[in-house]
């Protein structure tokens, strides 16, 4: 083993990744070679030195201020708790686009249907069909509108990366196992 090879293996060696003849061969080279020995020392000392950097303390009152903010946010999004669990809707994330298109189709269809169904009694003095007042809406419309309101107010939906965090946790066990 030459020095170039040995130096490249120093980190995995220090991390305990070798065993048997490979480990012994490397240990023997380090023992005999001042240059590799110094390199190894520097790696060990620099790694140990990291202990000397401790971040400052988080200031007192952090939790109290967090709780104030969480509660005020919680009060603002109180509506979301009317849904017993969003997970039925959130869990199959692949279905989100499909759900969204269904919603669009349903809304469009209901507007179209409404437009068709309104008898042409007067030549429309006011708004176009898109701005049908809520009072005229069917039960299905108001349900969709209400749900949209709830979804828009759901903070967790604003944080889409949050969903990936959940996904990641679900995948974690199997992934960790397969990497072993």
């Amino acid at each position: 083993m030459n020095c170039k090879e040995a130096k490249e293996l120093l980190v995995p060696f220090l991390e305990g990744e070798f065993s048997g003849p490979q480990k012994e061969g490397l240990a023997a080279h380090i023992e005999a070679c001042p240059s590799c020995r110094e390199e190894k020392e520097l790696l060990v000392r620099s790694w140990q030195m990291l202990d000397n950097y401790t971040p400052p303390k988080l200031k007192d009152g952090f939790t109290a201020s967090l709780m104030r903010r969480a509660r005020s946010e919680g009060a603002a999004t109180e509506k979301t708790s009317r849904l017993p669990r969003l997970s039925f809707w959130l869990a199959p994330r692949r279905l989100l686009p499909a759900f969204a298109s269904l919603l669009v189709i349903a809304t469009a269809a209901s507007l179209f249907w409404k437009k068709e169904a309104v008898p042409e009694k007067q030549p429309a003095p006011a708004a176009p069909a898109e701005t049908v007042p809520a009072a005229d809406s069917t039960a299905a419309d108001s349900e969709i509108i209400e749900n949209l309101d709830v979804y828009e107010n759901a903070e967790m939906l604003k944080d889409l990366d949050f969903l990936s965090e959940l996904d990641a946790v679900e995948k974690m066990n199997s992934q960790a196992l397969s990497d072993r």
């Binding site: 980190v11 995995p12 220090l14 991390e15 990744e17 520097l42 790696l43 000392r45 620099s46 790694w47 030195m49 990291l50 000397n52 950097y53 401790t54 971040p55 400052p56 303390k57 988080l58 200031k59 952090f62 939790t63 201020s65 967090l66 709780m67 903010r69 969480a70 509660r71 946010e73 919680g74 999004t77 979301t80 708790s81 849904l83 669990r85 969003l86 997970s87 959130l90 903070e155 967790m156 944080d159 990366d161 949050f162 990936s164 965090e165 959940l166 990641a168 946790v169 679900e170 974690m172 066990n173 992934q175 960790a176 990497d179 072993r180």
Partner: protein, 196 residues
Amino acid sequence: MDRMDFIDEDIELMLRFQSGDEACFERLAELHKDRVFNMACRFLGDYQEAEDTTQEVFLKIYRAKNIYRPQAKFTTWLYIICKNTCLKALDKKHPGTVSLDGIIELEEDAAPMQAADPSSPSPVDSMVDSEAASVIKAAIDSLPPSQRMAVILCRYERLSYEEAAAVMLCSVKAVKSMLHRARVGLKEKLAAYFKK
């Protein structure tokens, strides 16, 4: 108290919070705020950003009240949220240098967040109170984000390679490789300090 007790306690607190006991969320924040703050501080290198990030991490957990399911260690989930929030904060500071999809996609040659030269202290160096600490901080700051995260998780948070891989959404092999390069990089930055 062994490790299992911690796991059980965290998950139990989260479930009790889920059923309406806010004091349990408060307890979770108390238990883990330093862990989250230290990680954010080491990654972002800035006290105020780290504090904001810590608050954001716990607010995300608060918002997850209704969708949380206890399928993994609570701390793993916490680290994942913390990592993502840190990346978001870094991206805000240096737009385009990180991918928010997963740390493995981070640019290896992304610009370090500040000059690694400890002789030109920036305001964030007031965070540390000794020469050694400021040299180490500068060395860590100079690492590419992915290597920096690997060092934080494996060296400071003492996660196993498997746990770190789960947090970083990459393979164990990738974690090892990031860590190896980080060790070499840190050695090069810190060697001068020993040789003084």
